[in-house]
Structures are given as structure tokens and as C-alpha cells.
Assembly symmetry: C2
Homo-oligomer: 184 residues x 2
């Protein structure tokens, strides 16, 4: 068996209650090239092992960040993971290249349906208005930013969730096919 080429960073504080995230994970369950790092299981006390996380990221060529959208952004533990793991001199700054050229695939689930993200909806904007922080984080580290997979109405629309699971699986498979040959 070859080493994982995809690190899946997953953050959901109440994962067992999330239909969408459970189904998304199920759809990719058998993909042996994906290493799952469920942050709320690994670090329930918010005490992140920075070296271990950096070490895992260094061996893969794709990073997937999967989480529910809370207040137009990441759950706190995923933000902490980024704040602590993406250090100066490693992720960015002079000579830093640990993440350079790797892919970032964002997978986000929202409670609101598609229409809730519109000028006249409760969220006041299309979802695109809230993408800039994540996209720029990727670009600032020299990563390849991919079209996000965004699953709306994740509480109730089972057909949408199932379709998204298949999209997710297909996307990850393309990463394995187009495996990058990163410098050792």
C-alpha cells in the first residue's frame, strides 16, 4: 500500500449529529490514499501537536479542509489549527515552501439553503462573498486553490448531500490520478 497523498483535515465539534459530514466521509471511506485527521477527536483540549501536523502535511500533495460553516467561517478548532500549524518560516515568509505547489480543496457544509446566501436572504450575500479568507490563506502559502465543494442545506436535503458525496469522491480520485511528484 502506498503512502497517503491526501491529508483530510476534518473539524466538526458535533460530528455525530451532522448528516452531511457523515455522508461526505462515508462516500470517501474506502480511499486508501486519504489520511483522515479529525481534529476534534485528535485535539479535544485544543492542544495541537504542531510538529506532527506539519510532518503529515509535508508528505502529501493535497490538503482537504472539511467543516461546517459557523458564522461565515471555520469552527474555532480548525482556525486554531491554521493559526498554529501555518508558521512563519514554514508556511510563509522568506524561504518557506512547505505548502508551496500543494493543492487546497475546501469542503464546506452550510445549514442555510442556497437561497439563504443571496442579497435578499438572511445571509445578505452569495456564499462567494465569504470565500476570500480561505482562498487567500491558500494563495499566501503558494498553494493551488481549487473550486470549493459547498453543500448547502446540509441538515435536510439528503439528495443534495448524496450528490455532493459523489462529487467529493470523484474529486479526490482525480487527485490520486494526477498525483504530484513533489521534491523530496
Amino acid at each position: 500500500m502506498s503512502a497517503p497523498t491526501v491529508a483530510l483535515i476534518f473539524a466538526h465539534p458535533y460530528a455525530e449529529r451532522s448528516l452531511a459530514n457523515r455522508e461526505l466521509l462515508k462516500a470517501i471511506d474506502d480511499l486508501s490514499f486519504v489520511e483522515r485527521r479529525p481534529l476534534y477527536d485528535l485535539y479535544p483540549d485544543f492542544d495541537i501537536d504542531i510538529e506532527a501536523e506539519q510532518g503529515r502535511l509535508e508528505t502529501v500533495d493535497t490538503m482537504v479542509l472539511q467543516h461546517p460553516v459557523y458564522w461565515y467561517g471555520m469552527p474555532a478548532l480548525m482556525k486554531l489549527w491554521i493559526d498554529e500549524v501555518f508558521t512563519m518560516g514554514w508556511a510563509y515568509g522568506e524561504g518557506a515552501a512547505a505548502l508551496k505547489g500543494k493543492r487546497l480543496q475546501w469542503v464546506a457544509t452550510t445549514g442555510g439553503d442556497f437561497d439563504a446566501y443571496s442579497k435578499d436572504g438572511p445571509h445578505g450575500h452569495p456564499f462567494e462573498a465569504f470565500v476570500a479568507p480561505m482562498r487567500q490563506t491558500a494563495l499566501f502559502c503558494g498553494m493551488d486553490w481549487l473550486e470549493p465543494i459547498v453543500v448547502h442545506d446540509a441538515h435536510s436535503d439528503q439528495a443534495e448531500v448524496a450528490a455532493a458525496g459523489q462529487r467529493y469522491r470523484a474529486r479526490l480520485l482525480t487527485f490520486e490520478t494526477a498525483r504530484k511528484r513533489l521534491p523530496a
Copy 2:
């Protein structure tokens, strides 16, 4: 002495190292109507007392959120504070009105200078591109969103920091003058 009318939620994991945040706090140090809640002092273990936080917010008419910008957003502990304190049925959802009509004043410091936040700068966008999540969080809870105070180049530009401190102080004083009479 009257009760505080402003709750200042402050989050900086290394506050003693931050020139800008220290100076900003110094500029408002004597304002007795401001209650400071330094999250990293109160909750070093990320174990937030939700009821206490909600109780404090209920008694004021202005919330100030002050923090350095990390990866185009809040430090993780402030995100956790929002994720946990802004509960459904209290901050939003049917009949929820705890924050309705209160002011939200955002005070953000950035390491990058003003030009770094531009199309051709390292952050790829003007700072405005990263404001949507915070602004929409305020609006979703029915709060009044005020023009943010954003202090760029917070590591080195002492004149800019001093001027921002005076702007900050003046802004808080207008809140006390225009004290809201919220229903009890």
C-alpha cells in the same frame, strides 16, 4: 459610578508582544464605562463560560471586538467565543433578541501595511474583501454594524498606532454620549 455600557472583548494570544494592541488599550484605559474581557486571560484553556459571557453582553449596549488579524480573520479563541456565546434562541432564531439593536465595533490590527492589502500586494485584495464574515455576523444578530477601526502595519508604525488609539478613544466616547436606552 454607573455600570459599564461597553463590553470590550479582546483576544490576543501574545498580548504583551503586541505594540499596537497595548497602545490601543492604553488609549482607553481610563474609560470607566468600558468593561474589558481579555479572552486569553479569562479562558487560557479555551473553556468559555457561556452564561457569564451572555450575561455581560445583556447589560451593555455596545460590543467591541478587538484583535489582531490572523489569516484574514479572528484568532481562534475569539472565533470560539462567537461560536459558543452566540447561541440559537439567544443571539438568533425565532424570538431571539439578546443582541438586537446593540452596536458592534470591530477593531482589527494587521501586520501588513496598507499597500499589502491591494490587488497587487501579498494579500491580493483590499482589506474590505475580508470584512464580510464579521459584518454579516453582526447583521444576522440584528446588531448595528459600525465602520471598523483597522490599524495596519501594527508592528512598526508607531505614529499610525498612536493616531488609531486616539480615534478609538474618540469613538468609544461617542458611544457613552449616545448611550442607548435599551429595554430592561
